[in-house]
Symmetry: C2
Subunit: 599 residues, 2 copies
């Protein structure tokens, strides 16, 4: 890493790409390439003599297995573990030159970090990406040469699926810009662009997005696309008002804007996810930073989208039910030897049979026994474990459909769970039911609801180290903001609103033993309450996931009357709604009928 | 208010005194004097042509009744209502000179406000208190002349009550100062000083505090007292190491320090409640602002204090039970005509019979029917309403005892409540039980627990406009920080810790009809859970208030099995613990025995 040309003490390698994507294309997996740690969240700092990898509770186990002895694992969130920013300030020598690639850092983060570093006389040095240099140089020696940036064909969506035309969405964005008193904005989030233009791609694994940037002003819209992705179909869909330009040219266009903005003292909105390189191109003082209005607009699903979300979840439930029935049959009747990856593969096949199926929404977590305690486990041949009928099996999976995105976790035992496993499962279930059942006034945030999913676990001294839930896109990314339910302070800034989505996924994980998680997708809906104190609207959740929650794993003694009623009502809904999607006499239908029995 | 001498556009009048007391001596009731609004929380802004009074949800009704037509009531917390800071920025002309009395503003607030005002070119002008000038000048014309500052005799406490000597507490404070890297500190909170020196006073109504300031350095302790309060007993108690000085001389002493600090580049800690005048006296750059370490130390009650708190609550419960039994007898059997103030008076007499009684901890809220919806109602002759047996009666009261401070609310109906009143009461009770029963890991804040007290109310579209609870002093102020349970962001900074106190007081208020509140005092205690995930200690609450919660007001249909068990267990505890404090054959004992019957 010593590069005399840049003379930096350390180089920071975040997970994100130039669009601040959570999941990135292979060519952007710099942190994975340099560290070996493949989880979705993490950040590496490589200095002249140290290498540190920061990740959160979901990944402690996975990272400790994947990192070699060159690396120190920094368990973010544990007491006495510094944040990576604190580490740069306190653990590196004062007066350090710290290299960053301005394409993969947001302007907001860079400014904040710079002021923290200034306290010890250190500073940020924007340089070309050193990891790319290593990766590109050594590609002939390594078994993992750096792939090219993908530019796969684009899919266009009609208002029959999206509920609105892209021109309508652009008009709304212009109104938002006007309200904020800015002349224009840069949209760089890939899911924002896909949503805004009613287009989808497949450049990022499991995320139906494509590489692009957008500039929107009151009289102009420019969409920057990789040339290989531009087709006549795309041109026809976008129409004459959208100016299509080559992907990389946005930086020149922004630099060209810079002078005009300064002269007229106008400002542009930079979404808080916009990278530092763009902020620099537009010029200091010419920008206002705020959460992109596209993120807020996208989060509220319209009735057409909600209809699609409900529909695709029924077909997805049928696929999951067929898979669980098949798996049980294989393990108990056919005595098959199957590993976790075989299971994931079979589940994908069941999903692929469903109408509107496009792909997976994330790599299937198919995990038996101890693998279940690795919160974001991905089974891979040849290390995947054999699925055993006498262990807890946790399966977290989802599909992309043309009418929506799914995300579901169920935890099963094929024979007899221990009393302890049942108790843990029931505590998780009680948390799940508490979230599902809550009624709350408008203005309430997911941050405040988080405790409801933990309360039952806490009563036994148990807890889980991840949030309760995240937003889900409509045929878009499976993780979508700005809302969420968990301890992140940012979630306390976002009141839940009708039309938002949220997963409800409390869990419990016993390292080396088993993992439990129960996850449904919820829609935020208005609720008619008996009263309306202070004239406020009350809200609640509608669940759209309909796969039985295994009653064999429940400890009936712990459940209240109201919880039992919830379980029986939920299972009656599963039976009613999913039966039409299962074949008469099939294993799946029989499994559903058995599992949906009232307790 | 036009005072050409100071040439200000507006003058700001907070509720607090020079010690940032929540409850103040009469001579410091400037906001009450100028506006007529007597609630405990509020702030007035008087400009050349407007007068605005800001207060929160507890006081909307009371303030609207007390303010005359000169005043605009600003309902803090409602949508579109500016904070008083926003009001100064947006509603006053840009470039305004805004007068403040530096004695009643904290340095922290003044700095923050100044930067906000700077955005419109306005600024703060520290001037003598204009309200005092009006009040003092007109005293011969008004029926409420400004009283003198009280300087009542001081009471000294031994370690048998406090658990620690004042010298031990000062030693701990010195260690805290050392850890924070400061040379000395100013302690200006009256309850902090009372706690630190194991002394009590009665300068502020219902708050056993006395006017004083303190300076603590590694080698010196100075206590600034009003001369009339200094006695031989006080001198003997404080001992030779505490330097006793006249109250007003602290400002000169701080100015004298200023030069020395600058020369040695040392800093002093200023508690975030310290006033601007002190910060100015010590000099810019010589101070560090933080929450006073005395506040944090005081919040954790030691075993001696906890013992005293438990004991005084039993005697207090006996007094409240005797009162409720008496009141019921008067209303139903004696057919007496009693008003709310008569009730409060009789309750005070019952408390005064108890061992260790010193006084009330706040003005008794004795409220019938519509008065109950005024959250901090204080009945006063001749406006107090007649207590009617066919209305909901809400009584919130507390006592100061030499071994502790109490705060209890019960809501009763003497005949037949409506179905709606029962439903509301039961929803409030369910919130109360949820808080009482919660088990949570160390690190959890009261901010996060707040939702538990609202969840049942929300399910019916009901809510209440105040926090769930506050800390309570040990024979000190009935409102004590830093912890609390409610929506104030500051509460999210303070994890609940063993030894802390917290009230549990959800409510429901129907304007013009009735008020419901159920309040116990809780102690934070370690809980032995089945497991300890991540090695964390789990915590929970011990209730120390033992007065039956009226079962007649409960809607049995709404209660879960576990809630019914809680109620029966609680009532069995009341019976067991309070019976020894009631006279054989008394009305009170018979009332307790009847009210504690299981449901």
């Amino acid at each position: 890493m010593r590069d005399p040309q840049y003379n930096v003490t350390a180089f920071v390698i975040p997970s994100e790409d130039a669009h601040q994507s959570e999941y990135v294309a292979e060519c952007d997996e710099r942190r994975g390439f340099i560290s070996g740690f493949t989880g979705s969240a993490g950040l590496a700092v490589v200095s002249l003599d140290t290498a540190a990898l920061f990740t959160d509770g979901r990944y402690f186990l996975q990272a400790s297995q994947q990192l070699d002895s060159n690396w120190s694992l920094m368990k973010s969130g544990l007491p006495d573990v510094p944040t990576w920013q604190e580490y740069l300030v306190k653990n590196l020598p004062a007066g350090s030159r710290i290299g960053i690639d301005p394409l993969v850092f947001t302007a907001t983060d860079a400014v904040k970090l710079e002021s923290e570093l200034a306290t010890v006389g250190s500073f940020l040095v924007p340089i070309p990406n050193l990891v790319d240099m290593v990766w590109d140089q050594q590609q002939f020696h390594l078994h993992n040469p750096r792939p090219r940036r993908p530019a796969r064909p684009l899919m266009t969506l009609t208002p029959a699926t999206t509920g609105r035309t892209h021109l309508d969405k652009i008009q709304q964005l212009r109104k938002d810009l006007d309200l904020k008193g800015v002349t224009g904005c840069v949209v760089s989030g890939l899911d924002e662009i896909a949503w805004l233009f009613n287009m989808r791609g497949s450049d990022v694994h499991c995320n139906p997005v494509f590489f692009a940037y957008t500039i929107v002003t009151q009289d102009k819209v420019s969409l920057y696309l990789q040339e290989e992705a531009i087709s006549d179909d795309v041109r026809a869909h976008l129409g004459p008002t959208v100016d299509i330009k080559p992907y990389e040219t946005i930086f020149n266009d922004l630099r060209a804007q810079s002078g005009q903005l300064k002269a007229n003292k106008e400002k542009w909105l930079l979404g808080s996810r916009t990278n530092l390189a763009m902020a620099v191109a537009l010029g200091k003082g010419n920008t206002v930073e705020a959460r992109s209005p596209v993120i807020d607009a996208k989060a509220i699903k319209n009735e057409t989208e909600l209809h699609g979300i409900r529909q695709c979840h029924l077909r997805d439930a049928a696929a999951v039910i067929n898979y669980f029935a098949w798996l049980e049959d294989q393990l108990l009747n056919k005595m098959s030897v199957l590993d976790e990856a075989d299971g994931a593969q079979r589940l994908q096949e069941f999903r692929a049979e469903q109408k509107g199926y496009v792909g997976l929404s994330f790599d299937t977590i198919s995990s038996t026994g101890p693998s279940g305690a690795i919160i974001h486990y991905k089974p891979e041949k040849p290390t995947a474990s054999q699925i055993r009928a006498d262990q807890v099996y946790l399966c977290d999976s989802g599909g992309q459909y043309r009418d929506g995105t799914t995300d579901i976790t169920r935890t099963l035992h094929f024979t007899t769970p221990t009393q302890y496993q049942k108790r843990c499962f029931t505590r998780v279930l009680q948390g799940h039911i508490a979230i599902d059942s809550i009624v709350f006034p408008e203005g309430t945030t997911g941050y405040l609801l988080d405790i409801l999913s933990r309360q039952a676990l806490w009563s036994d001294g148990l807890d889980f180290r991840h949030g309760t839930g995240h937003g889900v896109g409509a045929f878009l990314n499976v993780h979508e903001g700005p809302q969420g339910c968990g301890a992140r302070p940012a979630y306390n800034e976002i009141p839940l609103k009708p039309g938002m989505t949220l997963t409800n996924e409390p869990g419990y994980y016993e390292d080396g033993e088993f993992g439990i998680r129960i996850e449904n997708v919820l829609l935020v809906r208005p609720i008619e309450t008996r009263h309306r104190f202070g004239g406020k609207q009350y809200l609640g959740f509608e669940h759209v996931t309909f796969v039985p929650i295994q009653t064999r794993m429940m400890d009936r003694e712990l459940l209240s009357k109201r919880e039992v009623e919830w379980i029986n009502r939920y299972h009656a809904e599963c039976l009613e709604k999913v039966t039409p999607f299962l074949e008469e006499g099939s294993l799946g239908l029989r499994w559903l009928q058995r599992e949906a029995q009232p307790i």
